[in-house]
Symmetry: C2
Subunit: 448 residues, 2 copies
């Protein structure tokens, strides 16, 4: 009899296993593929590794600006890929070691819930007090004619597996995943086209930040077709209708499908024991608990934030509650990052969400071009930090930035929002100088 059986070894599952192990619980982790989930195997980690190499290459191409002359630079994709795979191996070994250290049993196989207290893997059945479902998500494949059984069509999984970068790439979907790949390929000098249904890129991200990145990508030669619908695909040819009802066909060496994610709720036995779920995912409360009290779920499969760090936190909340520590998963300060160059990072509500929810806010847009470090370390192109506070209380509600180091600075903003600081409280904090994070501080003085 296990204390907890965890299904899925991604950022929800393996973090839950680690925490439960630390609490001395008897834990079984079942993973059908590799430890680390989408994040480590076909998501965050390989893309960030490749993006860093591409940024290194791109920074070298523009080094003249900083008084550094570089005559001959080239981007060697096979080396980049090899380095990335080595990194992934290392991180997977790290997780395996962590499981061992915390006495977590790990088995490879496909799990199926058979009763509220048992899970089968093949012919073996395991009994448990609690079940934690962390089965994640997969690429959503839209029903487009000519998409299936087409060698030129790939998802995030396929594009990371190829050995040679295609010379031209058509990306269907201008959300975060699509835009990161657009940036990677554009920095490597490839021809990129992005086709997106919405009028803006990067999904729910503040539109102005998305536009800043879009402008930069355009300058690098990326073609954008927004408010556009793909009609059909034929080999490498993609036919789409744009906002002016004009139909165009473009051709590319590869077509990347980046049209969102579908939750993995099939074939795990949710129906067998009557777990409440729909096509958006498994329904959980703030404790990450399903309608069945000893069955929990965390991560993408719960259909909330499709972010590795949210998955880890939600999984930790489940384990804390299982172990008797009352804990809830707050969602007011979940940071999100787009690892483009420049980076976008956000936490808290956007102006659009404030409007939707009827929250009266004050907003300021602080230009990074007022910041000493930013000017010292960039070419001075437009970049901003947008700060949103409650109109009456002046409590900080959102920070949205585009520019270097945003991904790391956003943690400070997350702490401020979570601790419910007001603009006056933040005015009294001391930020390092010269640092780009000073812009968060400086913005406060404009929020009157």
């Amino acid at each position: 009899m296990y204390d907890i059986i965890i299904i899925g070894g991604g950022p929800a599952g393996y973090v839950a296993a680690e925490r439960a192990g630390e609490h001395g619980k008897k834990v079984l982790l079942i993973e059908e593929d590799k430890l680390g989930g989408v994040c480590l195997n076909t998501g965050c980690i390989p893309t960030k590794s490749m993006l860093f190499s591409a940024k290194t290459y791109n920074h070298a191409l523009h080094a003249e600006e900083f008084g550094v002359t570089i005559k001959d630079a080239s981007f060697d994709y096979s080396k980049v890929k090899e380095r990335t795979e080595n990194l992934q191996d290392k991180l997977r070994s790290g997780i395996a070691a962590l499981m061992k250290m915390n006495k977590v049993e790990v088995i490879k196989g496909t799990a199926k819930i058979t009763t509220r207290h048992s899970v089968a893997v093949g012919n073996d059945e395991y009994e448990t007090q609690n079940i934690l479902i962390c089965t994640g998500s997969r690429p959503f494949i839209p029903p487009i004619e000519g998409l299936k059984n087409n060698d030129k069509v790939i998802t995030n999984v396929g594009i990371l597996a190829i050995d040679k970068m295609p010379e031209s790439l058509c990306i269907i979907g201008g959300g975060v995943i699509g835009i990161e790949f657009a940036n990677l390929y554009a920095m490597a000098g490839k021809k990129v086209t992005v086709i997106e249904m919405l009028p803006n890129i990067c999904g729910a991200t503040d539109k102005e930040l998305g536009k800043t990145v879009q402008k930069k990508l355009k300058a690098m030669g990326v073609d954008f077709h927004l408010k556009a619908t793909v009609n059909k695909i034929d080999d490498g040819k993609v036919s789409f209708t744009d906002k002016k009802d004009k139909t165009t066909t473009i051709e590319a060496d590869a077509i990347l499908i980046a049209t969102g994610r579908a939750v993995n709720t099939e074939n795990i036995g949710l129906e067998t024991i009557g777990i409440d779920f729909d096509r958006k995912g498994i329904k959980v409360n703030e404790k990450a608990q399903t309608n069945i009290p000893n069955v929990w779920a965390a991560g993408d499969v719960t259909g909330r934030w499709q972010l590795a760090h949210f998955a880890s936190r939600q999984a930790t909340v489940a384990i804390n509650n299982i172990c008797g520590r009352n804990d809830i998963c707050r969602e007011d300060a979940v940071p999100s990052v787009v690892y483009t160059d420049p980076e976008i990072a956000s936490v808290g509500i956007t102006e659009d969400i404030a409007k939707e929810r009827g929250i009266e806010v004050v907003t300021t847009k602080y230009p990074l071009t007022n910041n000493g470090r930013y000017l010292a370390e960039s070419n001075g192109e437009r970049a901003i930090c947008k700060v949103i506070a409650d109109k009456t209380t002046k409590q900080l509600l959102g920070v949205h930035m585009v520019g270097p180091h945003s991904s790391e600075m956003i943690a400070a903003a997350a702490v401020m929002i979570e601790t419910e600081l007001t603009t006056k409280d933040i005015e009294e904090l001391i930020f390092p100088h010269p640092a780009i994070c000073e812009v968060i501080h400086d913005a406060m003085f404009n929020l009157k």
Copy 2:
């Protein structure tokens, strides 16, 4: 009659002037040289600009590691200097514009306090309700034989003014300033020797962090002589005695004096009106107020933290109190950064200070090599995040890190310390993934 006369236009003075202007006060700012103080003219800003260029060059030299082949890279100091000077001009214009926008009168000249309510500049005398002294500091010149009237001897002012980098540089003083120049010159391929009296570099910085940077600099060819005393200088020859009582003479094209700072308390009339000060600086209370209630002082001249951002905060505190907002200058969460490669950033107490003050603490050292983004974006060399909490309450007291982005991440730690979060509170926060700032979060689980 002015509301406030501010003496000195550095990060204390010009920020005070801006804030006072925002409050509608009638402000006179007196600066004898250029606006921006040491920070903008001969300190933080030019060094960070040059360091960024040198890091760009150095990163190019090691780009192979990331799959980028660069055949021929060179560091063009004259271009780097020109770019830096343009940046400084731009930032000085920015301050001038800020003064104008906030209706601050600025005059160039040397100020002398004549009464508690008047300040003279040459033959002109100006009356005021309040005086704020922000005269800053200058390089401390130690009484070493052969140092004066020696063309080869320079300070931070001189080294930033020269047109050509000397091929070899001997740095007397291994504090933060000395080490940043050591790194700049080493990255540019110059021969660097550092002579320091203390057994460690970077002053009061956590010793282990200093050692990490020292090791990296050593690998780049920098010679360190710690616990060493300089006996005399003769032209380019520096004679010093080391910890084993051995006397050595080395020769260098230039000798940089980086042996700390002396406060600028002379010739401003402190004695005339009886302001309490000693060789460490003007004594102020938590409100930045001197022993004379309408006379205030902020920044380096108060002899506390010799950091631009502390100066700005202390100056803001003075203005807030002058304007009737009760505000005190807390010092528990003052971040400090060493802009070497890798960067060092610290906030709160070190283990040494905890011992000194008799605070019982728990400490953990979290290796950045456990972090996905760090491994993706580095060569995997040793880097750490050291976290210190109160043993009983588990309140966070200090964060000390060495590694990329430290300067920007430290803001998050400063907020956590200032808001008195415990390790349990921080466990419940959500950090972005993959990001190096996650190490602060991960470290919490080890602080039991």
